[in-house]
């Protein structure tokens, strides 16, 4: 039974929270924060929307299958990027050896950024799934 005030406030606030979460994820390698913290912030904005509207509309917008798919995609990307350097002949998550037309330091920075984004997607789907699964009725 949420009022129009709560719904409007949440709707206006949510994009800014998500933008801040994306900022935390993308600036992870050079400033405090990273994939986990940013993912939790984006997931919390989804929880805010689910709280201010109702659970049914949140389920309709991002259903269980979509969230599980994003969750699995994030963790698979995380492991897959780590395995790229193994394929290139190095050790797990030693990105400098990946053959790209860039200096080794830049390849490392790029891969760390990509891994942060993968963790962000994974944690975002995980946190919202945790909330929605606990909140819905199991009868």
């Amino acid at each position: 039974m949420t009022t129009v005030i709560i719904r409007t406030t949440a709707r206006i606030l949510a994009p800014f929270i998500q933008l801040f979460g994306l900022y935390v994820i993308v600036h992870g390698p050079i400033s405090p924060g990273g994939g986990f913290q940013g993912g939790v912030i984006v997931g919390a904005s989804l929880i805010l929307l689910a709280l201010s509207y109702d659970l049914a509309s949140a389920e309709a917008r991002a259903g269980h299958a979509i969230r599980i798919a994003m969750d699995s995609t994030g963790s698979l990307l995380f492991a897959g990027i780590g395995l790229l350097s193994l394929l290139a002949g190095g050790v797990f998550m030693d990105y400098g050896i990946i053959p790209l037309p860039l200096p080794a330091a830049q390849v490392r920075a790029l891969m760390i950024l990509l891994i942060g984004m993968a963790i962000g997607v994974h944690i975002m789907a995980l946190v919202s799934t945790l909330f929605l699964h606990m909140a819905e009725d199991h009868e």
Partner: protein, 81 residues
């Protein structure tokens, strides 16, 4: 240790004890959320902004919501034993 840090630490101890002894579980959850927020400030003071961001997002945000859902599905008051 400055006076501000001393006040912050004292308030943390008071809030932690209050969260344990509160009979109303919803009030205990809110007190615990305030404890998490103050803990985030303490982590920032200790030059650990990474931990502070995690504490503010997870401790104050998501954990509180999960506690509130758990209370909504069970009883709000603790019964006298």
């Amino acid at each position: 240790m400055g006076i501000a840090e001393f006040l912050l630490m004292s308030l943390l101890v008071v809030l932690a004890v209050a969260a344990v002894f509160m009979r109303d579980l919803l009030a205990a959850t809110v007190v615990f959320m305030v404890y998490s927020l103050l803990m985030a400030i303490v982590f920032t003071q200790l030059k650990a902004p990474d931990v502070a961001l995690t504490e503010a997002a997870v401790g104050a945000g998501v954990t509180t919501l999960l506690f509130v859902i758990a209370i909504a599905k069970t009883d709000r008051r603790e019964e006298d034993v």
